[in-house]
């Protein structure tokens, strides 16, 4: 049979479209059905952290929690604020609690460092915007997780986070890790990272590294769904605040002031 070039191209094009349409259902079935914004399922946990800033105040240059976290997770130190990666750090009270500070606050509180980290929000905007679900909210315990294999480095999650909790690997981190912890992988350049509530330690029934390292016992970690847990007790007995509560993100890091 004779076929001219245009007919052939048309046939090829239609075949390609047909194949593409045929595989669409298969691709769509891979759509994650992870629900967002859980308030804690019946059988699951709702992990949260309570930081007692009263105990954190006045301990000078102490950064045991930061050192512990950054060591156990191979967080690099680039030495400049442009490339900086931090999972947990000290921010001034004024910056951490933008709308809850005033000029007449107690002096010690005003200049106190507030420990900030990912809040593992119940209604996380970062999860909502991620185009590949490289970050998602775990059903079983509410941790906002990171999958460094899937992250394409678009940094949309960083843009969406109201707390500045996330960092990006602007360059290869390996040469800048002071002391490598062989029990945890590093990341590669081009992916976003943040605190994961030490889920790898939780799997071994350990507390998060920062909570463990705090000599002043200012940090507490536990399950909000468990009415008998230590953090539930702390929250019911002390006044606590959260960062930017008005945004509806439902952060799960509480600060006792």
């Amino acid at each position: 049979m004779s076929i001219n070039r245009r007919k052939f191209m048309k046939l090829t094009g239609l075949t390609a479209i047909g194949l593409a349409v045929g595989t669409t259902p298969k691709i769509c079935s891979g759509i994650s059905s992870r629900p967002q914004g859980l308030q804690g399922s019946e059988t699951g946990k709702r992990l949260a952290m309570v930081i007692d800033l009263r105990k954190c105040v006045g301990v000078g240059e102490c950064d045991d929690c930061i050192k512990a976290c950054h060591f156990s997770h191979n967080v690099p130190d680039f030495g400049n604020p442009k490339d900086e990666i931090k999972w947990i750090w000290k921010e001034s009270f004024e910056h951490a609690f933008h709308e809850q500070e005033h000029a007449y606050l107690d002096e010690s509180l005003k200049h106190a460092p507030a420990l900030v980290l990912c809040n593992h929000c119940d209604n996380p905007p970062c999860v909502r915007v991620c185009p590949t679900q490289a970050t998602w909210k775990r059903e079983k315990d509410g941790i906002v997780m990171m999958d460094w294999h899937r992250c394409i480095g678009c940094r949309y999650c960083i843009v969406a986070c109201p707390y500045g909790s996330r960092s990006f690997n602007w360059r290869d981190p390996r040469p800048f890790i002071k002391e490598i912890n062989p029990d945890f992988p590093t990341r590669t350049r081009g992916v976003v990272e943040k605190c994961t509530f030490c889920e790898e330690r939780l799997a071994r029934d350990l507390q998060p590294a920062c909570v463990d390292a705090c000599k002043e016992k200012a940090m507490f970690f536990g399950d909000l769904e468990d009415p008998g847990s230590e953090i539930r007790k702390l929250l019911s007995e002390n006044f606590s605040i959260r960062r930017k509560p008005g945004l509806g993100t439902q952060p799960e890091v509480y600060y006792i002031v």
Partner: protein
Amino acid sequence: MLEKALSGDKRYWVWVFSLLVLIFIGFMFYLRQFGYGLGITGLSRDVTWGFYIAQFTFLVGVAASAVMVVLPYYLHDYKMFGKITILGEFLAIGSVIMCMTFIFVDMGQPFRIINVFLYPTLHSMMFWDTVSLGGYLVLNIIISRVTLNAERMSIAPPRWIKPVIILSIPWAVSIHTVTAFLYSGLAARPFWLTAILAPRFLASAFSAGPVLLILFCLILRKLTKFDAGREPVQKLALIVTYAMAINVFFIMMELFTAIYSDIPHHVSHFEYLYFGLGDKATLVPWMWTSSILAVLSLILLFNPGTRRNESTLVIACVAVFISLWIDKGLAMVVAGFIPSPLGSVTEYWPTLPEFMISVGIYAMGLLVVTGLYKIALTVRGEYAARVS
């Protein structure tokens, strides 16, 4: 028809070669960036999207603006635009290709971009932006090819192309709306968290795009036998006038809400842009230039005398384009990050590699548009140089 882009006179090849050189240089810089990481740009922990994403945002607008010639001609039978719809569609193709390339060079792991399609995430605006841009590219390729081919054979285009063209009209609006949605749904960034962002994007797109079309028409009239005619250019100028007026009005609306409410996290971004915060004031001269050019362009455009005079029209068009490019391609994205959600002020300026990669991508877009325009003009027998 593609082979028509491969034949041309000396001026054509000099232009193509210069673009290829720029593309090559940009590509070399990109290899450096790929090896080192995005840290080679001016981006930082605080300002995490910058020049690349801003160019993407600006160019999505230019791509969407094809609708400004397609709608009158195909939906309302405004025959005057008959000769230039193909120019609008080809400009859209070039712009979308540039958009996609700007996204590619901004990714930390570009070869994982396929993950967006392997794991489609319906609640992510970035997923929908990819879908809509891809669809718009396909639409414009089909429409331009079918209509130009029909013209080449001096027959009417097939009837099924009409609904496809009509589809491209709301689709054009949707691509820029979705791009605005990337920004306007983020509680973390009060500078962008405004319902007027999408309308503002569209208004500035419908000014910047047609302005480029006007300039292209005038350039083509000078360099080739293609003459769009006086009337279409004047109509486009009128469209630009109204779109630019609406855009400036929208900016003033934003300024009012921010300044009158005096809420610090709304005002501070505008304060940074127009006055600087402390000694951090890099964008201040740019913002005032943009505003002055916007006012100047409106004066020239509203006044019928200067609008009808093609020399002053050119000045107005260039003023509009530069003003809007500063607004979208420099200010809008960067100012969303300054101050940061924690209140710190970290400035941003593109580095040399970042700039040269961007120049390379613009050159690539211009090359695509050049080649496509060459095809269109050759098909119409209007390529040959004007004998003046």
